[in-house]
Amino acid sequence: MIDRALIGHVTTPTTLRIDAWRVKLFCQATGERDAVYWDEAAACAAGHRACPVPTTFLKALENEHLGAAALLALMGAPIRGVLHAGQSFEFLAPLHVGDTVEICRRVADIYDKKNGALTFVVVDTDYRSGERAVATSRQTMVLRSEVDPA
């Protein structure tokens, strides 16, 4: 049983720089072949001020800030049987290689379904660069009690 008192828990923000190598590794791992993400000349030719980041790349930075495993450890829950049930992003401003991003996560909700067989944990994340909000996201995880009995 996850303590409902954790609803509203906010992580201490961390600021991370978007390094070129990390973006390139992310592209390699996701089958991304468009050179705009790692070749500055290609990026500028396509109208970007620098290499843009792939759409869902912020999730990799978020895991360095505080990923699902670390968040669940904070809650005393094992990662073993946890599944990713849902994910959404809103993109508000462009991000490029070399930018810094401040990341902060908040436990938005914890609730049960199926008489407690499933526990859902909803986590919202804010991403800021300088004074500007650049994106928000919401992750929903599901913990299955038959895999990790309380």
Binding site: A29, T55, K59, N63, A69, G81, G86, F89, F91
Partner: protein
């Protein structure tokens, strides 16, 4: 639905997903959950094979849009992981244009395994030019 800026349908195929793909994505994304990497852990959790990171399927979903409309074209992206993709699966992402409002288009999204299992349903809002 048709539009001169936005294709009515977008599709992308990915796979078959290999153990190397999953290890590389674990490193690139920082998601080291052994459910994606260790067959024994996957079996203990009720899966006959290691499962594909939802975020890997979602990255491919985003790629279906950026391949057609360019980097930075996605304004919002929402995915519900309604099924589990597994090691060895080939994933097909399809997006269907639902509406065009001002300069943005709304698409519905469905990702399925080659054997027809539903993996992702969702939606996206995209622009024909990058976010500024």
């Amino acid at each position: 639905m048709s539009s001169d800026k936005f294709p009515p349908r977008l599709a992308l195929d990915w796979g078959p997903v290999s153990a190397v793909d999953l290890a590389l994505f674990a490193a690139a994304s920082g998601d080291h959950n052994p459910l994606h990497l260790d067959a024994e852990v996957a079996r203990d959790a009720g899966f006959d094979r290691p499962i594909v990171h939802g975020m890997l399927t979602m990255a491919c979903t985003a790629r279906a849009f950026t391949a057609a409309l360019g980097a930075g074209s996605v304004r919002s992206l929402e995915a519900r992981f309604v099924g589990v993709a597994k090691l060895g699966d080939t994933i097909r992402v399809e997006a269907t244009l639902e509406a065009v409002e001002a300069d943005l288009a709304r698409y519905s999204i469905a990702a399925r395994a080659a054997d027809g299992r539903d993996l992702v349903t969702g939606s996206a809002r995209v622009g024909a030019s990058p976010l500024r």
